[in-house]
């Protein structure tokens, strides 16, 4: 019995670990070659490297994150691009109505929150909000689904479909925002004024710390929320999994079902809310940067 429990524990931690590893393609120091991390895929035999994910350094790419984010971006922005291209001035169709609703929603947020003159804020808010929502929606797909199709369909043993749960993606967005905030701050206050604001007035270097941390927090907030959500889905999935492991655990099925359903419903809120928060903070930061105060 004890042995069985220990076995279960190892399997459980393996399961969680498996779901937290990205499909990685990178530079392997040991063999000085580029390749997939060891045993992550079976599709490209020659590209399998001797390194594990943890042995790969900075120069590696999470192919699943990159593929999913670009794919979702292509779907979302392709949709809006096509709808806009087909848009008529007269009575709008259903898709156009939806696109206009989304646009108006974001445009009104931008108009009420941003009082500068920059033309990039609207598109930036639009792109970040919709891209993040499309990422976050992936969290509502069953956690096993990607692995299942990856394993049996594509030959990939590791495939995370949620780009938001990979810190690289939210951080990239936040850094773009940070660069723009810096640019508009310098433009509005002058380089000297901006540096003075960061290091001198009113609390000295504390301002600099807050400046950096608010942008890092922008990324971490999004990442943390979705990562935690994903983690809870994984734990609930383990609950389901118990019932497959031994007959005596069948009772876990019902609570697992209820939990999964309720968490998914609650998560719909987080999906939209985190994207909205990211967008609103982006607008607010850019507004602070481009107005004199």
């Amino acid at each position: 019995m004890a042995k069985e429990n220990a076995q279960n524990l190892i399997e459980t931690s393996d399961y969680i670990g498996h779901h937290l590893v990205n499909l990685t393609f990178g530079w392997c120091e040991k063999t000085s070659t580029w390749g997939f991390a060891n045993h992550q895929q079976e599709l490209f035999k020659g590209l399998d490297s001797a390194c594990k994910v943890s042995e790969m350094g900075f120069w590696s790419f999470h192919l699943d994150t990159i593929f999913m984010s670009i794919f979702l971006g292509a779907v979302v922005f392709g949709f809006f691009g096509l709808v806009n291209r087909a848009a008529k001035k007269g009575v709008p169709g259903k898709l156009q109505n939806f696109a206009e609703f989304v646009h108006e929603f974001i445009a009104s947020a931008v108009n009420s929150g941003y009082h500068g003159t920059s033309k990039i804020v609207g598109p930036l808010a639009f792109a970040s909000c919709l891209w993040i929502i499309s990422w976050n929606l992936m969290d509502l797909l069953p956690v096993e689904m990607a692995s299942f199709f990856g394993h049996f369909g594509g030959g990939f043993n590791y495939f995370k479909i949620l780009p938001t749960a990979d810190l690289n993606a939210p951080l990239a967005l936040a850094i773009v925002v940070m660069i723009l905030v810096t640019y508009y701050s310098v433009k509005t206050h002058g380089a000297g004024g901006f540096l003075k604001e960061l290091f001198v007035v009113p609390l000295g270097p504390l301002e600099f710390i807050s400046y950096v941390s608010k942008h890092v927090a922008l990324a971490l907030r999004l990442y943390g929320n979705l990562f935690a959500g994903e983690m809870i889905f994984i734990l609930i999935a383990i609950m389901f999994g118990q019932f497959a492991m031994s007959f005596s655990q069948t009772l876990w099925f019902l609570p697992g079902l209820i939990l999964n359903l309720s968490w998914a419903l609650f998560h719909i809120l987080i999906v939209a809310l985190q994207a909205y928060i990211f967008m609103m903070l982006t607008i607010a930061y850019l507004n602070l940067a481009s107005t004199k105060h």
């Binding site: 120069w59 990159i66 806009n84 206009e100 646009h103 990039i120 792109a127 970040s128 690289n168």
Partner: protein, 156 residues
């Protein structure tokens, strides 16, 4: 959580998507919505304008109708008075005519009475003469008596 070169790929992808939105999605949608807003406000403006025009036309038609009614009633009045006048005239004419007819009838009557008198007188004279002749056949000269009888006739 491990930061690696994925970050740069995401950075690049985000910049591209922002650029696509900036170039192709945001402005076209803004223009579209702006055009629609303008069209709607124009339409509302036109609607209120035509409403105003309709009210004006209603007012105008009401005044025209009032004028027509007034004209019609004055025409009727005129016609009525004219008719009265015609009737009066006709009456007067009729009375006059009647008088004329009466006069001429009276003249006729008088004439025929005179005629009758004359013829009666003549007849009486002839009868008297005939009677007298019968009475005085032999002795009385018709010629000498005739004067007497004529004077008698004239007295009648």
């Amino acid at each position: 959580m491990n930061i690696n070169a994925t970050f740069f790929a995401e950075l690049l992808a985000f910049c591209i998507f922002v650029f696509i939105t900036y170039r192709y999605i945001w402005p076209s949608m803004e223009n579209l919505l702006e055009d629609r807003r303008k069209e709607i406000s124009d339409g509302l403006e036109a609607a209120s304008q035509s409403q105003r025009k309709l009210e004006e036309a209603n007012k105008e038609s009401a005044t025209i109708l009032d004028g027509a009614k007034a004209e019609a009633s004055s025409l009727i009045n005129q016609a009525n008075s004219r008719a009265d006048q015609i009737v009066d005239e006709a009456k007067e004419q009729a009375v006059e005519e009647a008088k004329k007819i009466k006069l001429s009838a009276e003249a006729d009557i008088e004439q025929s009475a005179n005629k009758a008198k004359d013829s009666l007188r003549d007849e009486v004279a002839a009868l008297v003469i005939a009677g007298a002749q019968k009475i005085l056949d032999k002795e009385i000269n018709a010629k000498a008596n005739k004067d007497i009888i004529d004077s008698l006739i004239k007295k009648i």
